[in-house]
Symmetry: C2
């Protein structure tokens, strides 16, 4: 099952010529989950390899303008295309009130928008994984999200099954799905249960224990890094993190790879990376349109895939 | 005096990978006048040669979402920079109500936003020019805008003045500013009054008489062209124009150059241009970041200057 994270907007607060406002797309199999929707997100999607597909689910981390102002325009574009399928928007408490504020700007749509306010530790079951919301520390209602795959059954050993007298065919299938066959128990022919993958996104947050707990041994932690240590006081005041703090947290949680986002134009990428690497080696600072691919653990480590040089697709679209 | 038009967003309704939502910057001397502010305009400015400067005046043509949704984010970015200078936003009647809708999204600012509702035919006096609002036909309150320079005095003829016995120096200045000197009248030494330049922007509109009147002999007419003739019925229904209609209007008004904007991704640029050229030869379909320079009439014709290939400026900005 494919799993990757596409960075659509890696700036914080204000955009920069190169970085759009916060938006991150997680793709797993055919699922497309968008996290945050800063101004310009619909166009970032259009410019990406994914295109502006008919997203079904949007997860808002919190309601600061830089994380939500892309929503009205995106919904309007869907309506112009005569979308009919419902769209579900998740967010922390207050989501309904914020949507009511935006509603007059959004105007009439051709489809229903369903709003779901989530509490910390609430989980959404999906086919093969769940999405867990967790409270972060940004001075108001704010959620991080973790995509956690179900554990997978161990590897089936056909040689061993044959030795125990089971015939290849339907009986092999029964054993793999947990049934006993002719006195042979599944645990005799199946390897150990294999862990699923875990991707954690913090949204905006000061470094906090909850993130560290949720991110424990995650394959990928996407953590904000709005400041560097030289501005640590500003980070405390505004409930943001420094690159060093995010890296210390990643080290304590033992994640495979740390991706820093919500990058301010006041720092260079090299500076951000350098500061983070003093605490944690496996850190990347993605640019817009970069991806991180997360293979199944037995197939390799997460890989940072830089954006193709020219993300714009041909302008002429078939009618 | 320099005068040019920078196309920041040439798409209509929805953005495309290459075209942002409506925004056009007119620069005259040190003045920077922004017309419309679609989603993403602040970033388009950042990516342009101009940068996101502290704009003083914004002119809204009408209140469809694709023309105004960039305003909240841009105001917020100005506030993050601790802007103190007042910003004036002009628009048709209803401007105050629309701003009230956006206000909760905008939140607290560090500067005042002054709202000015304009009527058709209302004019704003500026130093050396005026901005005239005129009613267009888009099925609701909607204004086009014309920047009209004052006529300039004719060219002074120093040879003729000397022949008439005037001495070079302060007396030359007096003659040029309209005073009589030792019985010599200004009209004896000054050429004919020279016309100022005129730039007209329609916003969204069906072709209409008012635009044709206002655009009479304009140096540049920026007209919307949302449709081609094959979709002429849709154009009528939605009060938009086809490329052919805009071109016919430009021909009837005798403009120097016609620039078509509000381009739909359903057509190619080549198609749009081809249709317009059947009615009017001097037409361009600017891409985002293209400019049109309008020299003083005696110095040459308007010139279409394509965007530099890489509009992104260096990301690292001094703190």
């Amino acid at each position: 099952m494919d799993l990757d994270v596409l960075f659509l907007g890696t700036a914080g607060s204000s955009p920069s010529p190169r970085r759009g406002l916060p938006a991150t797309l997680v793709r797993r199999g055919g699922d497309r989950l968008l996290f945050d929707c800063g101004e310009g997100t619909q166009r970032q999607l259009m410019r990406s390899v994914v295109g502006l597909v008919e997203l079904e689910e949007l997860f808002i981390t919190h309601f600061h303008a830089d994380h939500v102002l892309g929503l009205p325009g995106m919904l309007k574009t869907f309506a112009l295309r005569q979308r009919e399928r419902e769209m579900v928007v998740y967010g922390p408490r207050g989501l309904r009130r914020v949507y009511e504020l935006l509603e007059p700007v959004i105007g009439r749509l051709t489809f229903r928008v369903r709003l779901v306010e989530l509490e910390g530790n609430q989980e959404l079951e999906r086919d093969g994984y769940r999405i867990a919301a967790f409270e972060v520390d940004h001075g108001g209602p704010g959620l991080g999200y973790a995509l956690v795959e179900d554990p997978r059954p161990g590897q089936f050993d056909p040689e061993r099954a044959r030795e125990l007298g089971v015939r290849p065919g339907p009986d092999f299938g029964r054993l793999q799905s947990g049934e006993e066959v002719d006195g042979v128990r599944p645990d005799q022919v199946m390897g150990e249960t294999r862990r699923g993958r875990k991707v954690v996104l913090t949204g905006d947050s000061a470094p906090c224990d909850m993130t560290r707990l949720v991110a424990w041994e995650a394959d990928l932690l996407v953590h904000e890094a709005t400041f560097l240590e030289e501005d640590a006081e500003r980070a405390v005041e505004t409930r943001h993190s420094t690159a060093a703090q995010a890296a210390e947290l990643a080290a304590a949680a033992g994640v495979q790879i740390l991706a820093l986002t919500h990058i301010s134009p006041r720092y260079s990428i090299a500076e951000v990376r350098r500061e983070a690497r003093t605490a944690f080696e496996r850190v990347v600072v993605p640019r817009d349109f970069d991806r991180i691919e997360i293979p199944l653990p037995e197939r390799g480590k997460p890989v940072h895939v830089p954006a193709p040089d020219r993300p714009a697709r041909p302008e002429v679209v078939a009618p």
